[in-house]
Symmetry: C2
Subunit: 334 residues, 2 copies
Amino acid sequence: MASLKDIAEKTGVSIRTVNRALKGDEKIKEATKKIVLAAAKELNYIPNLAARALKSGGGYEVIAVINNLHEMHLRKFAAMEKVLREKELLLSIFIVEDENCCEDLLKRLSLSRPAGAVLMADYDNQEQYDLIKGLWKIFDQQDIPCLGIDLDFEGMSQVILDRSKAIYDSITYLQQKGYKDIAYAGIEGAFGNDERIEGYKKAVKTHSLKENIFLAPLAVGDEARVESGKLAMEHFAKFAKRPQAIQFFTDMMAVSALQYCQQNGIKVPEDLAIIGFDNQPITAFTQPPLTTISQPVERVGEISGKLLCDLIKSSNSVSYTKFVDADLVERAST
Amino acid sequence: MASLKDIAEKTGVSIRTVNRALKGDEKIKEATKKIVLAAAKELNYIPNLAARALKSGGGYEVIAVINNLHEMHLRKFAAMEKVLREKELLLSIFIVEDENCCEDLLKRLSLSRPAGAVLMADYDNQEQYDLIKGLWKIFDQQDIPCLGIDLDFEGMSQVILDRSKAIYDSITYLQQKGYKDIAYAGIEGAFGNDERIEGYKKAVKTHSLKENIFLAPLAVGDEARVESGKLAMEHFAKFAKRPQAIQFFTDMMAVSALQYCQQNGIKVPEDLAIIGFDNQPITAFTQPPLTTISQPVERVGEISGKLLCDLIKSSNSVSYTKFVDADLVERAST
DNA sequence: TTGTAAGCGTTATCAC
DNA sequence: GTGATAACGCTTACAA
């Protein structure tokens, strides 16, 4: 593997001059520069980033911390990695397993000091929240620039999906389609539920609708989510008049509601319009295909990558918050 | 940021001794070691990987190459990362974007030379196949131990799901449940289709069944897979007697078939039993829940991690192939 | 058991 | 314009 030294020897100039030629910005005779560049090309010179990082003090990798494995996260990874790669940063992943994760992270950091970190972890309960906040504190203490995605620790830079606006928009969309009695079915205390309710209430107010909210109790896991969809449908069935449209907390709930409708002879969207949240792969293939709210994962990843690069470069401790808009994916359930 | 030098100064011993204490494996007085370790902890010492890599030339990380983003892969990552972490290896991801991936990889390798690599990329067509094989050749040329997961380049070490056995087992299961006319619906030329057919044919022979195979044309993407499920159902509908059970190439196809049945008044499993392949999250919640074949992602990840560690350690160029058994997940569709 | 010192490839400060 | 040379933090042969 050719180094500056090799090029220097080959061309007969000093290492410093080779360096100047390669960097391009410093004063150097055109002729020398040409010769050096030719030699560099011939020797297949590739700069050694480890050496560069050593000299300049900075690490050259970004740790992505993640606990809940979803395709969504991976796609954010992908978009982020693309941005980071351009800045010659590597993306390294750290998977949160259990309550030892803080120790694990410290151990991980003892293997290499990253230039920055992204917390993509999410939480379902207080314990997890505390745990993840602990991870952030470690980065903070170590002065490692850290960006949270869909996380809201005070003082941390973050990229957040604007759930409130997303729901406001979806309710508005339903209202414009002519639906009048529009309900929201969420999950008490789940991450992002409050923001959704906020958007719902705002839309209800703006369009002078009747507020109709059902909250299922918090429970973790896919099965629980499916169960909550059924719970919601059973709740609304108790009343004389069913709502004309329901915005669900999540696709899982919505899909489950769809099944309930199928089993109980409720026609979607004629009798009841349904909107999910997340745009999971299934939703395109349900019966009928589900209208849903799509988190723009690529955009989130890209923005996060860029923001993190800025944080790494600037290294002042200001924290930024960036909101990202969701997209409404219209399908046959509305 | 504390360095060996800082610890040395604080404790009054030489850098070399600090290094020995931290490494642990060399001869050193217990007392000295204790003092040094305490100081290291107090100073929050984190080794500088750049410096280490610079000196020793060798990397401390494993690159995972991936192109098609699926939750499955991520879960393999997770299990693998756990194994690697124990060996003080970092997991770094490299996402394959396009036909420039070979150049990109070379560039990536100029940033850090990894200790090993895992190719988790999969392919749908010849071009992709060639591209990914190109990536492997780069690792091979650079003498970087490389493990393929569900990939079969000659001379490369690999961990492979035993699809043939999986299908043999599922057909046998159907036969033992009393089904007689058991069909296989696959996709011509898709990765793993031949192995599935092999297992199917073997089972047909063993149990003296009637061979009944339908192959949809190859097309890429989820929607295409769903479409092929419908194609398969339409194919089988043409005959006087529908098969009693169908093993599908993939969950997507099976789910689509399930929908077809619902729309056409075919009762599952009474009129027709259906088995998928992959155990995707949806399958637990379809109507009825789908019996499917589960790739033991955790086991695959773990085995891969261990095998890769062995490859890195031994550094001889023998290549290993390890087959992993799939699990049958029995649900209500059979 | 511990210490000295060289060197990995780069960058940057000086002096020429 | 160009070239010595020191330094980044770590590893490792060689001394002591």
